[in-house]
Amino acid sequence: MISLWHFLSVGAALFGLGLVGFLTRRNLITMFLCAEMMLQGVVLNFLAFGRYHGDLSGQVISLFIIAVAACEAGLALALFLMLYRRGRTLDSGSWQNVREAGVPASIDREPLPKPEYIEPAPTLPVAGLKPKPTQEETVRA
């Protein structure tokens, strides 16, 4: 029985899951991680075929895929940081004003839920004697 098929199916499933995430999620970082998951599915296919044919070329090309993915990660992070600095958000939908002409805008109709009331962290009242200032503090004063 050939086990190649099992690995190919799992690779396809990983690729498809990544595709779903890339299409539906709006956080830039989650989208990027989903793209990386698609790459993992592809690498799995290369390795499975390499194993099947007894050839190391599959592993070598996977190595190059990792190198290119590392470049891509560095560039994507730089891009995300720059976008965050400008818009204060990681939402890919907030950059839709650079879309092509003639494409309708996507408008969110459902309101976001109200943020839950978060109890502030407890603070301690000031009590006891004030400690003597250290030598450094007296010098600085």
Partner: protein, 355 residues
């Protein structure tokens, strides 16, 4: 049990539909929804997908430990992949991604790629995940937000993705049944498992001949090993039920790897014949006799490793990288340098912008 449930095509469609519905329900939406149904559907989809793999392609491997490991790694990879796609909190999503990487690395190990496994763990888990978590902390959001609590077109997106998975698996199923019908869609490995076991028996016979104290004994073992070897590399004059390699490969003579194997086969056959001559000339000198058989034994072992991944993974990858792919290595290095420069220039704050 109804036969429709055992039909791989039905199982595939069921798995894709269950998975698509489950992921659609699990994807983040502004209103709070119950996740129980989504979790149930997604798990059921995964289970049916496993059943599909079993009925369509049989058991994953021939030995049970690799079987169990494959099932565990594949299931963990797919489960944490689903978690990454459906998780609201991106930091938790990054942790789920780390689990995807870990389990695919387990699959890499099953595919005889230890170096790639180590490299992936170091690069993805060590470098990429940490830098991503770092950026996530820099851009920390409190409370509900557009990017984490909304998804774009959950129904259409998950349908598209799972239809893709279904189509690919359907194609694989078609290819698999075609091979079963001997309309070969994929080239078979050139040396079959049967060949390998026969070659292993031959080399074991040669070993016995080398270890023998009496020359008559040695001749007996050598003869049986030689007969087995010639079944594989011979010219078919022995008219056995086992067709020799050269006859099986004659259809695809033009392919370079086939040509290399044919050359090796011919070389081994010539060596076997010349060993015969040497042994007849050696007379009663046991040492010359052993030396000639040892040569033949070594060549047989090397030949039987043809078409398999070499045992020394790292050394061989290094050799291939710096001999066949040297230009690509240089290009990859240049690409890394350019990407670094680009990332640095992109994130630099300009003086006039801050002033």
């Amino acid at each position: 049990m109804p036969t429709a449930l055992q039909d791989p095509l039905f199982q595939l469609v069921l798995a894709a539909v269950l998975g698509a519905l489950g992921v659609m329900l699990l994807l983040p939406k502004p209103q709070r929804q119950s996740r129980t149904l989504g979790v149930f559907l997604a798990m059921a989809g995964l289970a049916v997908f496993g059943a599909f793999l079993y009925t369509a392609f049989g058991r994953p491997m021939s030995d049970s430990i690799a079987d169990v490991l494959f099932c565990i790694f594949a299931a963990v990879a797919l489960l944490s992949g689903t978690l990454l796609v459906t998780q609201r909190n991106p930091a938790r999503g990054a942790i789920a991604f780390a689990f995807v990487i870990l389990s695919t690395c387990g699959l890499f190990l099953l595919l005889a790629a230890p170096f790639l496994m180590a490299a992936t763990i170091i690069i993805y888990m060590g470098a990429i995940i940490v830098t991503f978590l770092f950026v996530l902390m820099l851009s920390h959001v409190v409370g509900p937000s557009d990017e984490n609590d909304r998804s774009r077109e959950p129904l259409l997106g998950s349908l598209a993705g799972f239809a893709f998975i279904g189509l690919i698996c359907f194609t694989l199923l078609q290819g698999h049944t075609n091979i079963a019908r001997a309309e070969t869609a994929l080239p078979q490995p050139m040396l079959t498992a049967n060949d390998r076991s026969l070659l292993a028996e031959a080399s074991a016979d040669f070993d016995r001949a080398i270890a023998a104290e009496e020359i008559a004994d040695a001749f007996k073992h050598y003869g049986s090993g030689r007969a087995k070897l010639l079944l594989i590399v011979g010219q078919g004059e022995l008219n056995s039920e086992h067709p020799p390699v050269r006859e099986r490969l004659s259809a695809m003579r033009t392919e370079p790897r086939t040509m290399a194997l044919l050359k090796q086969t011919e070389g081994l056959r010539v060596l076997a014949n010349s060993t015969d001559d040497k042994l007849l000339n050696a007379g009663i000198d046991l040492n010359q006799f052993r030396y000639a058989i040892k040569l033949l034994r070594d060549q047989t072992v090397i030949y039987s490793g043809n078409g398999q991944l070499p045992a020394r993974n790292v050394a061989n990858i290094g050799y291939i990288l710096y001999s066949e792919h040297i230009l690509s290595v240089e290009l990859a290095g240049t690409l890394l340098l350019v990407a670094t420069i680009g990332a640095v220039t992109m994130t630099q704050r300009r003086k006039e912008a801050t002033a």
